[in-house]
Amino acid sequence: MRSRLSWTYRMRVMKITWQGPLERLDEYMWRIPRSYRPDMKRDAIIFTDEQGSEQVRVDEAPEQLANVACLPGLVGDVLAMPDMHWGYGFPIGGVAATSMKEGVISPGGVGYDINCGVRLLRADVPADEAEGKMAQIMDVLFEEIPAGVGSERQRGFGLQDLRRALTEGARWVVEAGFGEEADLRHTEEEGCVRGASAEAMSKRAMKRGLPQLGTLGGGNHFIEVGRVEEVFDRAVARAFGLEVDTLTIILHTGSRGLGHQVCSEYIDTTLKASRKYGIDLPDPQLACAPLRSSEGEAYLAAMNAAANYAWANRQILTHLVRKSLERVLGDVRVETVYDQAHNIAKIEEHLIGGRRRKVCVHRKGATRAFGPGRPEVPASYRSVGQPVLVPGDMASGSFVLVGTAKAMELSYGSACHGAGRSVSRGAAKRSIRGSAIRQELAERGIVVRASRDVTLAEEAPAAYKSLDMVVEVIHGSGLATKVARITPMGVMKG
């Protein structure tokens, strides 16, 4: 195609080194003090280690975090998780909590893929038994689940279905017969956040999202079949139904084009609102509106609807995974361990400055990590804390952590969401061929199915930070603690 265009076309890297102040607070906490810039209203805290504190300087992510610290109505410091990297508006891995009274909500603090998230399933067949049939399992998954860029279902849903997905989320899917009540109990917000409104969403968003309901999508979205390789905390692992050699399936996807459209449109709406309410923005991508404004309320309602769409989407995929495994393994029971969002803004209660306050917590590329006792944690896990799902790259696998009381003190009950990219997709594509990745994974016993080899190159393991470093920081800082490690046996990419 490019040869048809008589345009100049080049790729190049621009190296940026952030020179701002980064003060060490302890082994895992580093601070950009509010004195760095006159417009900062709070400190910015980065959870990382000594090596990571140098690595974060390679791009603009720390400056983006300093920008977030300029938003009005923050109730405390703004935070970044150890998988932080350069985003737009908020850095990926950013967390900020705003006051319900004086605070704002920002579409840029949630991101385009609203409620992009992860669901962990476990099967009652030992992984060893499934391993010999992995090629067949991945073939059937690839056949059953629409994947790839702009993937659409052959037999789509209707507009009424979409409206129910927006307001009822995963519950609509379960009531339609594609899931179990237990799936809902083990899903954040039970798969349906309140306050969602389809009316707050444009027809364009619905048109973009309707054919993609029940699809995986492309980019970094994936389905991974794996095994529990190592258990670090036997008691908590038992509570989560995990032990060594448990067969697991991880789904990673979100609200597809519907969420992208909602974000694009509401950034324009909130840019206008920022001017209307006299909010100075260090970056227009941080456009926001007071939570108690018509614009802020409308965005929250549309974002919640997109979040429900994403939970419905992962519930539909869960049904397709069950169907696929039954086709290959016969009688197999597949249960949801947990499903959590990592791009979302939530209204939550936190103990801040000695008093309980209702705040809006933005988590962009960060997960909720509530500790024991919180009513939001599923009853079956409430005594131990919430599962925190941290997927890594295609080769190194994933971690299951558990939320802690310390996370409630330090991070509004938040933790990391993954490994975080260290190399751009373009650079990764030029560095290695997809076929080489496929070969390398095959040598490690990992079966790969992908719509296109180039996706494998973009998502090459070497394009991501070390998941071990990210998890060690989270574990060491006490935001969440290690429960189990999962290694992949089969990976499906869009």
Binding site: T8, Y9, R10, R12, G111, D113, R204, Q261, R421, S424
Partner: protein, 156 residues
């Protein structure tokens, strides 16, 4: 994994209209230029097509005129790209050969751009990259010496 080295070649500054794709850790940036805002926006459209990377490029099925409005020229640029992204994602339409662009800048919602382009029906064609949206982050418009240059980050 072998390390990538950037191309030693610089963009062809002599060309009056063009684009290049720049690196960004999680996303991609397009730098596009022309003799004025209209030409730079045409080049941005071609840059977006390069990011979408359809393989193979389907033949043109007709000509279309696309109009966007915004409060200001920055908004116009973002909405222009978002319009093309929406049409690709929701309608399966791709556009190339951007031409005869008319831009009028004013106050309020009066900034407007109208662009003529060849329309392609993506149909079953693979689009190589899912572009979520165009962002305001790092958006720059630089005018100097009879040239307009725009840089935009796309979320992919």
């Amino acid at each position: 994994m072998t390390r990538w080295s950037p191309s030693p070649e610089l963009p062809d500054e002599k060309k009056t209209k063009g684009f290049e794709l720049l690196e960004h850790t999680a996303d991609v940036r397009i730098r596009a230029w022309g003799r004025d805002l209209a030409e730079a926006c045409e080049a941005l459209g071609e840059g977006l097509l390069a990011v979408l990377d359809p393989s193979p490029m389907p033949p043109a099925t007709g000509t279309s005129r696309i109009t966007v409005t915004a409060p200001d020229e920055r908004g116009l640029i973002v909405r222009w790209l978002n319009e093309l992204i929406y049409r690709c994602a929701a309608e399966g339409k791709l556009y190339s050969g951007f031409r005869n662009t008319r831009v009028s800048l004013g106050r309020g919602e009066s900034a407007q751009m109208s662009v003529e382009a060849s329309e392609h029906d993506a149909g079953e064609i693979w689009v190589g990259c899912e572009v979520k949206g165009a962002t305001y982050h790092g958006l720059s418009i630089v005018r100097r010496e009879g040239r307009c240059e725009i840089t935009v980050i796309l979320d992919i």
